[in-house]
């Protein structure tokens, strides 16, 4: 099950809504929820009110309801699937079903407290370095997030931009100092991250074991609009991601290829406390068979970078010069 955050035409920025995907179309989940409660569970008295609690204006708000809200989501989708999308309307006749192109999709998790990329986490890269003992990470500021279709704007201060594809584990339940064996209870889903780096700046900052400007400029974090809801460890281990530049695959890996397990990452970073909507992105790029490893992938103005995973979705960005001009 994939969910999205988006704005309908003429909506104001704070009027974002949560959508679920079914048969390539988007369902307005708040209205679908009210319709489901009214029709399937004969609960018309407070159906609209309940629906607005469970499906508020942020995905984080939905995640905070925990497992009951996710079970409700499953029931709504199966209700809609049985009812058929063609005539599906809300209790008062409101529209539920939209085409993907009718909704302006947003970065799904707007303001996480922790949006970290776990550093040096792929086997290919660490083979050349001393093995990392702990999953260190760096913070990508929410103000750097862009989603599918938005350009990556080449910053004036850098000569050298590159990209890494990542799978981000999304937190669904708050906790602190979580033991590894309980880690999966705190996971609600996954999305994709394109981690853009100004490599020349990053290398200079690395001399003092920092990375800030090289990782945190406007549009330096591409986020897939879809969040795949789930937390089955076996399914997640098999999640694959591909990063391609102008249609050619440059990175390809599965979550199971990563040096640090999801359990290790949650155990480590939950020392600070974690909350619904937080995410931890894991990059790994195993060499493609017969193809030279590119890790990271250098960008140039005019190119298009795309990160995709069959189960999660995709996010793609044109790379443009500052000022919006393609050189």
């Amino acid at each position: 099950m994939r969910i999205y955050l988006g704005l309908l035409e003429s909506a104001l920025p704070h009027q974002s809504r949560i959508f679920g995907e079914l048969d390539g179309q988007l369902l307005d989940l708040q209205i679908a929820c009210a319709a489901y409660l009214t029709q399937a569970e004969s609960n018309p008295a407070n159906a609209a009110e309940l629906a607005s609690y469970y499906f508020p204006d942020t995905i984080t708000g939905f995640l905070e309801w925990g497992e009951p809200a996710r079970q409700l989501l499953d029931r709504i989708i199966s209700f809609a699937s049985k009812a058929g999308l063609s005539g599906l309307r809300g209790h008062g006749g409101e529209k539920i079903v939209y085409q993907m192109s009718d909704v302006r999709l947003l970065p799904p998790l707007q303001n996480p407290e922790k949006s970290f990329v776990i550093g040096f986490s792929d086997r290919a890269r660490t083979e050349a370095l001393p093995p990392a003992e702990i999953p260190t990470g760096y913070y990508k500021l929410p103000q750097t997030f862009v989603t599918n279709g938005a350009p990556v704007v080449w910053p004036k201060f850098s000569e050298q931009l590159d990209a890494d594809g990542c799978i981000a584990i999304v937190i669904g339940k708050a906790g602190k100092r979580i033991p590894p064996e309980k880690a999966w209870e705190h996971i609600a889903g996954a999305t994709l991250i394109v981690d853009i780096t100004a490599r020349d700046i990053n290398q200079r900052e690395g001399l003092t074991t920092n990375n800030l400007l090289g990782k945190n400029f406007p549009s330096s974090t591409g986020v897939c609009p879809a969040v795949l809801i789930g937390n089955d460890p076996k399914t997640f281990a098999g999640l694959e991601v591909e990063l391609s530049l102008d249609g050619r695959i440059k990175q390809k890996f599965a979550l199971r290829d990563c040096v640090f397990s999801v359990e290790q990452i949650i155990a480590r970073w939950s020392i600070l406390g974690i909350k619904p909507g937080d995410w931890f992105a894991i990059g790994a790029s195993m060499a493609l068979q017969g193809e030279r490893l590119q890790n990271p992938v250098p960008l140039k103005i005019g190119s298009t970078i795309r990160c995709a995973s069959p189960a999660i979705g995709e996010v793609s960005h044109p790379v443009i010069a500052a000022g919006g001009i393609r050189r």
Binding site: E113, T136, K156, R204, T209, N210, P218, L272, G273
Partner: protein
């Protein structure tokens, strides 16, 4: 003005500490401005006060000169009106950090030559060095600093916090101060052992960002009342004993250079830059034979000249 964020009746509110009454009274800006509007014959005073001042300190800062003028009118009104429910006693409320949730908290490292030397770094940096502290690590002057059980080497760093007042992108050093809303005392609490462990494998983040590792306050002094921020003394005491004592004049990259450099990532109202710390931190202080790490029970006082003393107790988590 000395602007504060405080909790009264479980509500987060913005206020100003008034000098004339011995720094122990706070004007509740919303209440006082609404009362002022009423006095000058305005209707819908609550809604107008809320729209003019904003719902929290960042919203207030975004409103710029208009909100500052309204705050001044509110303070003047409250003082002449004899309080009238618009003034609360400092002791009766809990002060938060003046900006309790900055969008970005950018903290400079290795930015005082005496501190670079005591930490045995070979040379100073070629460009400004900084890291992000998590906004969730910010606490105020009435909060304790929790000593996490994972940390063995807990350290302090007195710094100046520079609070940005306007969207600030690619500005020059010459115009940098136009973007500053004000200043506050700041303590960059650091877990040296955690940082060392992180640096071995990558970069440090956790060691600077435990909850409570960014005390700020007690108030934000607006820029118009700090004519020469680059030339302020700053000091820190632990249990009354002086540990750090220096001057912001010794910064390697000056405040104006820091603003210009970090404006390349795009800064917003309520974002906070901190200056880096001078010598005297526990990890490097001479002639201490054994580093005097912070421990539960210690009282840490960090102060920048004219910006008020930031006093926090260390407690075991």
């Amino acid at each position: 003005m000395k602007l504060v964020t405080f909790i009264d009746d479980d509500q987060e509110r913005i206020g100003a500490i008034i000098d004339t009454l011995g720094l122990n009274q706070i004007v509740d800006l919303h209440k006082a401005y609404a009362s002022y509007l009423h006095a000058v014959g305005n209707a819908a005073t609550d809604q107008l006060a809320a729209a003019t001042l904003g719902s929290d300190m960042i919203e207030f800062l975004k409103r710029g000169d208009q909100a500052l003028a309204a705050a001044r009118a509110a303070i003047k009104h409250a003082a002449t009106d004899g309080g009238n429910g618009n003034i609360v006693e400092r002791q009766r409320v809990r002060l938060m950090a003046p900006v309790p949730r900055p969008g970005a908290l950018v903290s400079a490292g290795k930015n005082f030559s005496d501190h670079v030397a005591e930490m045995s770094s070979k040379k100073g940096p070629v460009a400004p060095v900084a890291f992000l502290k998590l906004p969730g690590s910010v606490i105020g002057p009435d909060d304790d600093i929790a000593h996490p059980p994972e940390v063995k080497n807990l350290d302090y760093e007195v710094e100046l916090a520079v609070i940005i007042g306007k969207p600030c992108v690619d500005v020059s050093a010459g115009e940098a101060f136009d973007y500053v809303a004000g200043y506050a005392s700041f303590n960059d609490i650091s877990a040296r052992d955690i940082i060392r462990g992180e640096n071995k494998s990558g970069i440090h983040l956790m060691g600077k960002s435990f909850p409570g590792f960014a005390p700020m306050g007690p108030y934000l002094v607006t820029a118009d009342e700090v004519p020469d921020p680059q030339n302020l003394k700053l000091w820190l005491r632990v249990n009354g004993e002086a540990r750090q004592d220096s001057n912001l004049g010794y910064m390697i990259f000056k405040i104006r250079d820091m603003i210009a450099y970090w404006s390349q990532m795009g800064l917003n109202p309520g974002d906070v830059l901190t200056t880096g710390t001078p010598r005297g931190v526990a990890a490097g202080r001479k002639p201490d034979q054994v580093p005097w790490w912070l421990k539960p029970g210690d009282l840490v006082e960090a102060e920048v000249e004219g910006l008020g003393c930031l006093r926090n107790r260390i407690i075991a988590e």
